[in-house]
């Protein structure tokens, strides 16, 4: 019994240590921020970080679910753009209608992604690369390639609203990450997503309907893209058919820095939250330093190589 307990502690120590590494990186990034600029720790800057990055932060939680399922979803950035166009177009008629239609649209796209994937068995990278273009095109056609005005003032103010000094979207982020964490950890569907991503053949032999699980994962990704789009519309105050470009890459970046694996079956959404914060803060620091936006992707690229490289090297 005693021996067993010792072993349990030892093993728990392992995953704990990789969390520690992530926390250390986070602390290091914060420290660098503080050293670089006195403005970094100001309330206003902290708000800016959250308000500016929240869209891909929301996407990252959905992307974690998809990566755990062993797939990828490149269409989420386009879905955000489509949502903003739908919101701006429909909100003058009815805000409720606009919100319902947007979420319905993105969840439907997610389900379509999942169904096409499981029926054709094509690689999800290729499939969602195609739907990324298609959805973007739909957004451009609806918006006629132009920004769409029509988002009510009351709605666009939401992005800047604070409660007790904390931006509203921070609460939204916490709620979304709590929801995703709970869903993945405690529901049967959540665990099935892990199983399918870990070894789909074993999952199938257990009686799990792997096609249905994959579709469900894409529906969740669509839902998250819709919510991210709702926030994005408020943040940019209009419908941008050519907006939210590369957001899927940023979502993937946050998730993999947080430890999600491209091979599926692995990933913890709370770590994705840390990954998201690290990416958001690094971008903020670069802005504070006045680094050209043309050069900023270099820093993000290096960050991925270091974060993931260290992890894969440790594993092998």
């Amino acid at each position: 019994m005693l021996q067993n307990q010792i072993q349990i502690k030892h093993k728990a120590g392992r995953s704990f240590s990789s969390n520690i590494v992530l926390l250390l990186v986070f602390a290091a990034v914060m420290l660098i921020g503080a050293l670089i600029s006195p403005l970094f720790f100001s309330v206003q800057n902290m708000r800016n970080i959250i308000v500016g990055a929240a869209t891909f932060g929301i996407l990252a939680s959905g992307m974690t679910v998809i990566l755990i399922a062993g797939e990828i979803d490149l269409s989420v950035g386009s879905q955000v753009a489509l949502t903003s166009v739908l919101m701006a177009t429909l909100a003058p008629i009815s805000l409720t209608l606009a919100i319902v239609a947007s979420i319905l649209a993105t969840v439907t796209i997610g389900i379509l992604n999942g169904v096409l994937l499981t029926k054709t068995k094509m690689p999800s990278f290729v499939l969602t690369l195609s739907t990324m273009g298609i959805v973007r095109s739909i957004a451009l056609v609806i918006g006629n390639g132009q920004p769409v005005y029509g988002v009510p003032r009351s709605y666009s103010n939401l992005a800047n609203t604070t409660v007790g000094g904390i931006p509203l979207v921070a609460f939204l982020l916490v709620a979304i990450y709590l929801f995703t964490w709970f869903f993945l950890k405690y529901t049967t569907l959540g665990r099935s997503i892990y199983s399918v991503g870990s070894n789909s053949e074993a999952a199938r032999l257990t009686g799990i309907n792997i096609d249905r699980i994959t579709v469900a994962a894409y529906a969740i990704s669509g839902l998250m893209a819709g919510i991210a789009g709702l926030y994005y519309t408020s943040y940019v105050t209009l419908g941008l058919p050519d907006g939210a470009v590369d957001y899927e890459t940023e979502a993937i970046t946050a998730a993999i820095i947080g430890g999600a694996s491209f091979f599926g079956g692995e990933g913890v959404v709370t770590n994705t939250l840390l990954g998201f914060l690290i990416v958001a803060i690094v971008k903020n620091i670069l802005n504070l330093m006045g680094v050209s936006p043309f050069v900023q992707p270099v820093a993000i690229g290096l960050l991925i190589i270091i974060a993931v490289g260290v992890r894969t090297m440790r594993k092998s």
Partner: protein, 505 residues
């Protein structure tokens, strides 16, 4: 012995695959609290039989009764419903998830609200592991465990689900001494609980250690089913290999030339111990031994896949130290691996590309490759080895096993290998293609090439080889010349000493 209630009964089970009859009217009965050992050579039909038991394969004809009622299983899920479970060597575990979650994969403990009850799951998993005296934490990830530990988790998982029939497919292939002892303890416990156990093994000595009944399969037929008291090791081996050596083999008399390869005290840590032998031009040298005796490892260490710890390898009179297979290929060696699907051929590419691979690897320092020349050679070779196909542009995956094997061989001929290392080249190939393959081997040695042949099919090995080296426990134990030894004599040297002593005591 035979007092247990019959749980599962198989009557006249026949299974045909396209072109092959894997099982012919096999009868088998499993009783509660009995360990039923299933032995036979590779390809005798053991795995087909257990796959029919679990529902992974459907039988072509015959009847299966579970507790006296006829059942038709169409998937492993059906088998599981009836309490029939198998623990395969390729484990169906979830590598990135915890031990506890894997154990309860099929029946996750839930709270009243229908949510996953983690504390309960971990507690129950710890209890189960403790019950079997296993020191594995329920929190560990499967991929962090050793293969043996994974096997134990798979066993615990199968046991947690209230199995009536438990099939173990060669568990001793991955478990070592003390782990195996523990497994035998678990099996004894299960017998008391009235579980019917099917135990498949190549280590025949285990049959006497834990078996109650043994069934010998050969060529898809049930040769004999007997109580263990009425069986001796010698008889069992006879039943296993029983078939006569007849014209199913092909061998030509070829003049044996000079020594082309000489190994002196080759050692690779944990795999090969002090192997010394020589190979001559035009010779087929057979390597006999049980699975795990070190035959494949010996081939791979000659081929530069494993680095030698000590010993010397002289090829065409020149001492060689290979750092990688590339060096070995450059010296004229070719290796046809046991698993042609993953190591031998690039299945998703065409025949001509596969044949040309070896040439490409050799030409790598030439800047440009002239494909028409290479492919022309590929066409010649494909005709030469008689690959049956519509077109050489056909993907290798579409070929039959025998033709895939010929493609792999043609690759080495294209790169002008002089010494060919063949590891179980005829495994899973139907009889007709085998004969063609033998004739082809004869032609190769007639043309001055030399072959080292590993085969678990003793009749084949005896018919083709000019000399046979017998290996066990990583060592070469004995050398026989062609026609000098009987199967029984070879097997006697192939079974490790300590096992033989245990058997006779």
């Amino acid at each position: 012995m035979r007092e247990g209630k019959t749980i599962l009964e198989m009557k006249k089970i026949t299974k045909s695959f396209p072109g092959v009859r894997a099982l012919k009217e096999v009868d088998l009965a499993l009783r509660a609290g009995e360990v039923h050992c299933l032995v036979g050579e590779n390809g005798a039909g053991k795995s087909t039989l257990i796959k029919i038991m679990t529902g992974a394969h459907t039988m072509t004809s015959g009847e299966m009764l579970v507790n006296g009622t006829p059942q038709v299983l169409t998937s492993p899920l059906d088998g599981r419903e009836l309490g029939i479970r198998a623990i395969y060597q390729e484990l169906d575990l979830l590598p990135t998830l915890s031990v506890a979650e894997n154990i309860f994969m099929e029946d996750v403990p839930k709270t009243k609200l229908g949510l996953v009850d983690w504390p309960k799951m971990n507690r129950k998993a710890a209890e189960l592991l403790q019950m079997f005296h296993v020191e594995i934490s329920p929190y560990s990830l499967i991929r962090d465990l050793t293969v043996a530990e994974q096997q134990i988790v798979a066993i615990v998982k199968a046991l947690s689900q209230d199995s009536k029939v438990l099939i173990m497919d060669e568990p001793s292939a991955v478990l070592t001494g003390s782990e195996l002892e523990r497994l035998f303890g678990i099996i004894a416990e299960l017998k008391k609980q009235g579980v019917a156990i099917v135990y498949i093994t190549h280590r025949l000595i285990e049959v006497f250690e834990i078996g109650d009944i043994v069934t010998v399969l050969r060529d898809g037929e049930n040769i004999v089913t007997k109580d263990i008291e009425d069986v001796t090791m010698e008889k069992m081996i006879q039943w296993m290999v029983g078939r006569e050596i007849d014209e199913q083999f092909y061998k030509e008399k070829v003049a044996i030339g000079d020594v082309v390869l000489e190994a002196k005290n080759l050692s690779v840590e944990g795999m090969v111990k002090e192997a010394s032998f020589e190979l001559r031009e035009g010779e087929i040298l057979g390597l006999a031994g049980l699975v795990g005796a070190g035959r494949t490892e010996l081939l791979k260490s000659i081929f530069g896949e494993y680095r030698l710890n000590s010993g010397t390898l002289t090829i065409f009179g020149e001492e060689c130290r290979f750092n990688s297979p590339r060096d070995a290929i450059a010296k004229g060696l070719g290796f046809v691996p046991e698993d042609r699907k993953t190591e031998g051929a690039v299945l998703c590419r065409s025949i001509e590309e596969n044949i040309s691979l070896g040439v490409l690897a050799k030409k790598e320092f030439k800047f440009l490759v002239h494909f028409p020349t290479i492919f022309k050679k590929a066409v010649e070779l494909a005709n030469y080895v008689k690959i049956r196909c519509h077109s050489l542009r056909q993907e290798v995956v579409t070929l039959s096993g025998g033709n895939q094997q010929k493609t792999v061989l043609a690759k080495w001929l294209a790169s002008e290998s002089q010494i060919l290392l063949l590891d179980e080249p005829t495994r899973g190939i139907d009889v007709g293609s085998k004969l063609e393959f033998y004739k082809f081997m004869a032609e190769l040695v007639r043309n001055g090439k030399s072959i080292i042949l590993v085969s678990s099919e003793l009749p084949e090995l005896m018919a083709l080889s000019d000399r046979i080296l017998v290996m066990s426990n990583s060592r070469i134990r004995k050398e026989f010349r062609a026609g000098e030894a009987t199967q029984e004599q070879i097997l006697e040297h192939a079974i490790p000493q300590e096992l033989r002593e245990a058997a006779s005591s």
